[in-house]
């Protein structure tokens, strides 16, 4: 089974700095990691390969330093890594991002049997890109999966959706996005990490290699635009109360009442 795992490099600590000109995040100088749910997806992919054979390809779109995350994925056991990177891709929204990634996937030979990704990322938290890749490639999708088993040409997956536990059979090729319950992530042995970092087997594909025009990517290829960034923290009232436990409890209950979360006391 040929599996593609889409991973995104995300800031490890939300140490946020903003490029106020371009209204994007400054990624330089921020510690980075593989998005945790993408790491779970990778683990699931490696596990499936263990049972069904085949190859695991990790694919990431991002600035050149995303290569670190791909090396980490190779160290974890992925067979090959592709970095989709081009200055023209900066400022892509989810519509444009999914377009670039779908194009990269469509160039793979043989076409993969399974696409895996995390259900959402810890930085932008939209969960859009997975289903949008599936749509562009005309593939079925199942999101938020927490169990995968292989049955013939299909996968049987389980996912919790709006209070229902669904068991779903999906025909391959398909896209599956995973949630955190799927499988524990093994920590890497230092040796494997060093080997992966010393080997330079990461393919790099840019806009031209993918046959994309400038209009299809970046801000031009995007439907949405961030017109302003705001800091929300200032809206908190920040009132500090010292006193006896009785006083503190009374204030807490008063707040519950004021929010309409507790019936006001009769009499």
């Amino acid at each position: 089974m040929n599996i593609v795992v889409c991973i995104k490099q995300v800031p490890d600590q939300p140490t946020i700095r903003i490029d106020s000109e371009r209204m994007t995040l400054i990624r330089e100088g921020v510690e980075s990691t593989i998005n945790p749910l993408d790491r779970v997806a990778l683990e699931a992919g490696l596990h499936l390969r263990g049972r069904a054979g085949g190859q695991v390809t990790v694919l990431s779109m991002g600035p050149p330093q995303s290569e670190e995350s791909l090396r980490e994925a190779l160290a974890a056991g992925a067979d090959r890594a592709i970095l989709v990177t081009d200055p023209a891709f900066a400022g892509s929204d989810t519509l444009a991002t999914s377009h670039v990634l779908a194009r990269a996937i469509s160039r793979l030979r043989p076409f993969p049997d399974l696409l895996l990704c995390g259900m959402k990322t810890i930085d932008s938290d939209t969960g859009h890109v997975g289903p949008q890749i599936a749509e562009e490639l005309g593939l079925p999708q199942v999101c938020g999966v927490n169990e995968i088993s292989l049955e013939g040409d299909s996968l049987v997956v389980e996912r919790l959706s709006d209070g229902f536990l669904d068991t779903v059979e999906v025909t391959l090729p398909a896209l599956i996005s995973v949630n955190r319950d799927l499988c524990p992530v093994r920590s890497l042995a230092l040796g494997s990490l060093e080997t992966a970092f010393s080997q330079g087997n990461i393919a790099r594909w840019g806009r031209e290699e993918l046959g994309l025009s400038e209009e299809e990517v970046g801000p031009k290829g995007s439907a949405t635009r961030v017109q302003r960034l705001l800091t929300p923290a200032s809206t908190r009232k920040g009132e500090l109360v010292n006193g006896s436990p009785r006083l503190l409890v009374d204030r807490l209950i008063g707040t519950l009442e004021a929010l309409g979360l507790l019936d006001e006391e009769d009499g």
Binding site: P11, L95, T126, Q132, E135, G163, A223, Q227, A233, P245
Partner: protein
């Protein structure tokens, strides 16, 4: 099909499953009304399923002008592909300006696919929606970077302008039995989806409770001191009809399951009220709670960072406050 332009305006996806608990559609109709009045247009609710027309009157009573219904046996289960086919065709035919949907599990799976098919933008988990008085564009405010920032997003040249919204962000309008609206049944073409087959579907609570949908979330940190103290949070949650969340150190200590973990590597919650007890306020944790409407923090250290993001900070020993709070609530409820 729509020569009058009746259906151009604001569309709301109608999610009628579990109608009496799931109020997100009603909340979006209320917001849709407000936007439609500013834009001098109408609110249309989309209703897809099998024998679902009875919900149409409910939506009209809660503020919808029009309900667009698609009834077909193959639409009985909420299914991304068949629903995308129907709604995309309608959107192409009637050209709505705005399309809003609830950020439910289904919504998170369905709206991105629909937006992609319509080659339009989508903003996720909006906390504010308003019409820009100068441009008439929908200003979609959405949390970015774990809620550390808010991004004001616009979609200036593609339609519809699409947004998903978490439950309880907006308030529903009261039920008005005398409300008048129109129910329409536009043409549909339904193809059964054979690629994704739901074999079984059974009702189940999430293992971490319904943390992500809870109106009240109570979070305990290491400052609680012991597993026994942490257990008191479950009693508190039961009294307040809330859910219990935990920080990473608490999960690591084994006081709570991983499913209750909030923050960077756990869940993100957006309750009406979050009570954070014995948590210092590390960034890895607070990124998961930024979206709470009101935050009350209890901590013995007046300088704990958690107080910087609390609406109400109570400086005291949780081991004294918590039992007294439980005792006081039990007497009242």
């Amino acid at each position: 099909m729509d020569k009058s332009g009746l259906l151009h305006g604001v569309w709301v996806f109608g999610d009628y499953r579990n109608y009496f608990q799931n109020r997100v559609t009603l909340q979006l109709i209320a917001k849709g009304r407000e936007l439609a009045e500013t834009l001098r247009t109408r609110v249309t609710v989309l209703l897809l399923g099998e024998a679902v027309h009875q919900y149409a009157m409910e939506y009209i009573a809660h503020g919808a002008d029009i309900v667009m219904v698609a009834e077909h046996p193959d639409l009985r289960c909420y299914q991304v592909e068949s629903y995308t086919n129907v709604v995309a065709r309608w959107a192409e035919a009637f050209k709505p300006d705005i399309l809003l949907g609830g950020a439910t599990s289904f919504g998170r799976e369905f709206f991105p696919r629909l937006a992609k098919r319509l080659k339009t933008g989508l903003s996720a988990d909006c906390v504010r929606l308003e019409v820009d008085p100068d441009t008439g564009l929908l200003l979609q405010t959405t949390p970015a970077f774990g809620g550390n920032l808010l991004a004001e997003v616009v979609s200036s040249h593609r339609r519809p302008q699409m947004a998903t919204i978490h439950p309880y962000v907006f308030k529903e309008l009261p039920h008005k039995a005398s409300a008048v609206g129109r129910v329409v049944y536009p043409e549909i073409e339904v193809k059964a989806n054979t690629q994704v087959r739901v074999l079984r579907s059974r009702r189940q609570q999430a293992r971490g409770g319904n943390l992500e949908d809870a109106q009240i979330v109570i979070v305990g940190g290491r400052g609680l001191g012991s597993r026994e103290q942490f257990k008191l949070l479950f009693e508190l949650a039961e009294l307040l009809a809330g859910e219990v969340g935990a920080t990473r150190p608490v999960v690591r200590a084994g006081w709570a399951d991983e499913e209750r973990l909030l923050g960077q590597t756990g869940k993100t919650v957006k309750p009406k009220l979050l009570i954070s007890i014995g948590t210092s306020g590390a960034l890895q944790y607070t990124t998961g709670i930024n979206g709470a409407e009101t935050i009350i923090a209890v901590n013995r250290d007046a300088h704990a960072p958690i107080f910087k993001m609390a609406d109400l900070g109570l400086v005291g020993e949780s081991s004294a406050v918590l039992p007294l709070l439980l005792e006081t609530l039990r007497k009242r409820i």
